[in-house]
Symmetry: D2
Subunit: 97 residues, 4 copies
């Protein structure tokens, strides 16, 4: 569920635990890259890890974007003020490119 409850800016997410564990993993991956730099590891190996973190962030972003579109945006449209919600959606789609 997204954008439910009294404060529209608070978002109760069913998949909250899963999102948190993914973010913990991504944090660990970044720490791993840090260690590789500290250990003077080969550039290609480090860059391969950077690409993996980017791809993990991408898929997290798509999941959040989808649940936002289904929740907040759909609710806003149904409530008659979809224009602002779609503005926001498109701005973040552009930022994520």
């Amino acid at each position: 569920m997204c954008c439910s409850g009294d404060d529209p800016r608070r978002v109760e997410r069913d998949n909250k635990p899963a999102l948190i564990s993914r973010l913990n993993r991504i944090e660990g991956q970044v720490r791993g890259i840090n260690r590789m730099v500290q250990e003077d590891r080969y550039c290609i190996d480090i860059l391969t890890q950077v690409a993996a973190v980017k791809s993990a962030l991408d898929s997290l972003a798509m999941q959040l974007l989808e649940s936002h579109a289904r929740g907040c945006v759909a609710d806003a449209v149904a409530a008659g003020d979809g224009a602002a919600a779609i503005d926001e959606l498109m701005q973040v789609v552009r930022k994520l490119r």
Copy 2:
């Protein structure tokens, strides 16, 4: 400097401290996103932070790629075995897209 010294897989980087502090910052940003999810923050605010982390990783990757091309790849070409180094370079350019 890149790919210097006896072990070609160890890379002494002049900008090592700067890379490490950037990675510390990125790690902090990911932790911040984690906190936003835990606090049920609005999706667009979280997605904006995810886009910022991706862009920080992108610029870190371009910096590493450039120093790798100038160091390891140029050294390999000069030593007569550039083909394998360019293979590696192109593979990681594709992964980072």
Copy 3:
């Protein structure tokens, strides 16, 4: 306007002439790249043009995506079947990455 009229799959666009002239320009750019290859032009010059065409396509896509979200998706949500429209929207957002 988007997704108006009797056939929901036909889309009357106010900006149709502008879209057509942009696509004519993009077609001309691709023809230009073709000529550069035929004239054995320098790779970097050709790649710079390829990047320009990609960026023109990107901005065309964002414009179409925005008008689609405002039109078809909002209409579908208001008509009570937003889920399928949001599925479609997210699939194409992923393809355009």
Copy 4:
């Protein structure tokens, strides 16, 4: 072969016919998108085609970039002035992102 012959800015490519036929196809795809807009076709169908053209351009770019790295960049490094060639390479890698 890339960057051979007397004029370093002229590039004789073994795969020239293949590149030209790919560019002809991409040109045809862009013309097809133009026709879809003229026929008021559904946004998602048009956007799917735009994504296909972008992906075709991406793969063309990677092929050109690879042959450039193997040819012009390697030749320049071997001739002792790799720095400028690697500058150029990195600039276009950034543009193509």
